[in-house]
Subunit: 409 residues, 2 copies
């Protein structure tokens, strides 16, 4: 035997044992089904990108967190930290041929080297839903509708989550109306984005550093008490259309949603669990400058990023840790080697009829077979002994009901 | 606008535009469905592994081809080139708790830095199907049955492909019977694995370098003419059981299948297209020493690796380039902004009824809408004008049949 090496995954990387995969499938299946239903087309690209592409969009801070390396020809490569630079690259490559608006979706593994804290891993999967090239707020409605649909398909209701929606444009207008110069808005957004994470006194200090007077700071905090979106025609239209589409109950107006990233330009949103236990479930908004940052033609867009980690924690907490466990297969076993052929034949037949069949690979005592089948994902079990094969008929047992019916061999 | 950067993927990495994703989905869906039907449990792990784990199994040659790098804490990390070291790690981590035999499956992205030739990329997806801890040949039958099932689900028949099966143990017995010492077998396997790729004269030279006499070389080439597996009880049982399970027509005995990797210990197999146009579709076999190479307890296993590249080429060639294109959605459009609400409401209803609905995001002329819908993946299209909304009923058009029926709004 060779020297033993570590059997752990590298720090921050995740293993998915079968019991983890049932949860991941529940989440991914909902992503795919919701994207499908709303007519989004799937795309993907390799997780390895050129470092230059990722750094261009990411800016300094995220640039620091990118896993990067040189290949044998000294190409500077990197593992993507988010999907948007790749999306921009794919669209730019065919900008003249593609028919806009595009409705594209992907489930993308993303890497980020960051300090390990609770629930923070160094890789995760992020569902991306984007509409590129559509100015009307119906783009926001379609993207949000798909996200709400995904959460419902996972088994959650609007009692479990709410999408907090605002508009940076609306906030900018309110600031301008209070006499705060547009040149200072970026700085104000940055400071306001920290609300809830640091005391208001510190935020006030940040605002003053950004050139705001005491009166401006006071006005800014007053603006942050705005409870109605009615003064924004764009937000009003979004809430109204969400009502027409049947998911207005999932949305709340929240002037406090800013989104840190400077590249959002209009409506922004973040989804939270109503109990306030977890970090954001998904977030996104309108962005206009993604394509131009890599030198392509401009195009307005709306998109969201929906990670797999937080929603899986939320699902486990709301539905129970075993909720994703499946009980839908058929276990087939046999007592002696002489019944193996009959078991193989029965398994083949049941599979061809569309069943998921776990065939025991060697002869077993019935007690052992049924105990294993009971603990497995099988809903039913058939065990073949000499008498069954001789009679050409066996019993198929419903593991939950503990009832039996006959099955021809 | 910023400086333009390259919009191409890094060399050897693949982009998947929507028309590529329909093919990938066809292949992946077949992998998943076949694994499901045969009762394999899904697992996964991050594509980033420790370099040490990968190098341990890979040996020198593959070790050279691994993408590897240091993280910020000087951990030596790497992108996996194959899934088996990860599989070994996961099993080793829980070897005392897991209930064997394990039947596990994964679709794993794998990276290998190699010279670029036709059809060779630097990343691909590989479907892995493994049974760990079962000695009987029923393990081989289950693994092969799942692979054949996947090919059928993709739309191929056994006229398109054949699985070539042999046994290194059987070949070893034949060599031993001819007086060729077991100590020389590894060298003989290595040489014979090159058959078809280099002239027999060179293979003969390799065999002589390995210590074989002229008579031994002649005997070896004679053994390679063996046309029947009947002298091998194990192979006979495999072919018989494949018949019971209903896929014997997919298998052929081929003494020439060796598999380069030294870690195979028993039955080995490779699947090829019958026309001989492509590289191997999948390959695998019995291996006994994977777990011990990383310092875990020994366990016998059978596994296969089935890449996505070759089978997709084969599918496109056999089924036609458009075969995966779908025509199953409903396009919904509207003539003026006044009909937008009705279109949003109709799209929401059709989606809730299980349809895939591509809703136009802005008002359009009917001609433009129907021309776009015809070129899209929609099978049906509904276009709302003022009269339709006033009447509360519209027409839904079957795009292929060019027939219309009424639909209530």
């Amino acid at each position: 035997m060779a020297d033993k090496i570590s059997f752990e995954a590298p720090r921050g990387m995740r293993d998915f044992y079968p019991e983890d995969m049932v949860w991941r499938n529940r989440v991914f299946d909902a992503f795919r089904a919701a994207g499908e239903a709303a007519g989004f087309e799937q795309y993907d690209a390799c997780v390895v990108e050129s470092y230059e592409l990722l750094a261009r969009k990411a800016g300094e801070e995220v640039g620091e967190q990118i896993y990067h390396f040189l290949d044998k020809s000294d190409r500077h490569l990197a593992l993507r930290a988010e999907m948007t630079p790749t999306l921009a690259r794919l669209v730019a490559q065919r900008q003249k041929e593609l028919s806009f608006p595009l409705k594209w979706t992907a489930i993308a593994q993303c890497f980020r080297y960051e300090r390990m804290t609770k629930g923070r891993k160094r890789e995760h999967y992020q569902w991306n839903v984007d509409i590129i090239g559509e100015e009307s707020v119906l783009a926001e409605v379609e993207v949000l509708g798909a996200a709400v649909d995904a959460l419902r398909r996972m088994g959650l209701t609007t009692a479990d989550f709410k999408v907090h929606v605002s508009s940076r444009k609306f906030l900018g207008e309110l600031l301008a109306k209070s006499g705060i110069d547009a040149a200072k808005h970026a700085q104000v957004f940055l400071a306001l984005d920290k609300r809830g994470k640091m005391p208001d006194a510190e935020i006030a200090a940040m605002l003053k550093d950004g050139g705001l007077s005491d009166a401006d700071v006071e006005a800014t905090f007053r603006i942050m008490e705005t409870k109605s979106h009615e003064a924004s025609p764009e937000l009003s239209e979004l809430f109204r259309l969400a009502g027409v589409a049947g998911f207005a109950d999932a949305l709340v107006f929240d002037i406090g949603v800013i989104r840190g990233l400077s590249y959002y330009t209009g409506i922004v949103f973040e989804c939270f669990d109503t109990a306030g236990e977890f970090r954001a479930i998904f977030g996104g908004g309108r962005y206009d400058n993604l394509l131009t940052t890599i030198g392509a033609e401009p195009a307005t867009a709306v998109g969201l990023g929906f990670g797999d980690v937080v929603v899986t924690e939320l699902l486990k907490s709301r539905l129970g840790g075993d909720a994703a466990a499946r009980k839908d297969g058929i276990a087939v076993g046999f007592m002696f080697p002489e019944q193996r052929d009959a078991a193989v034949r029965l398994a083949a037949r049941l599979r061809s009829e569309g069943n998921r069949v776990d065939l025991s690979l060697h002869a077993q005592k019935p007690k052992k077979f049924f105990s294993h089948a009971g603990a497995s994902s099988a809903a039913k079990a058939v065990f073949l002994g000499p008498d069954d094969v001789a009679a050409g008929v066996a019993r198929i047992k419903d593991m939950a009901e503990r009832t039996e019916t006959g099955i021809c061999l």
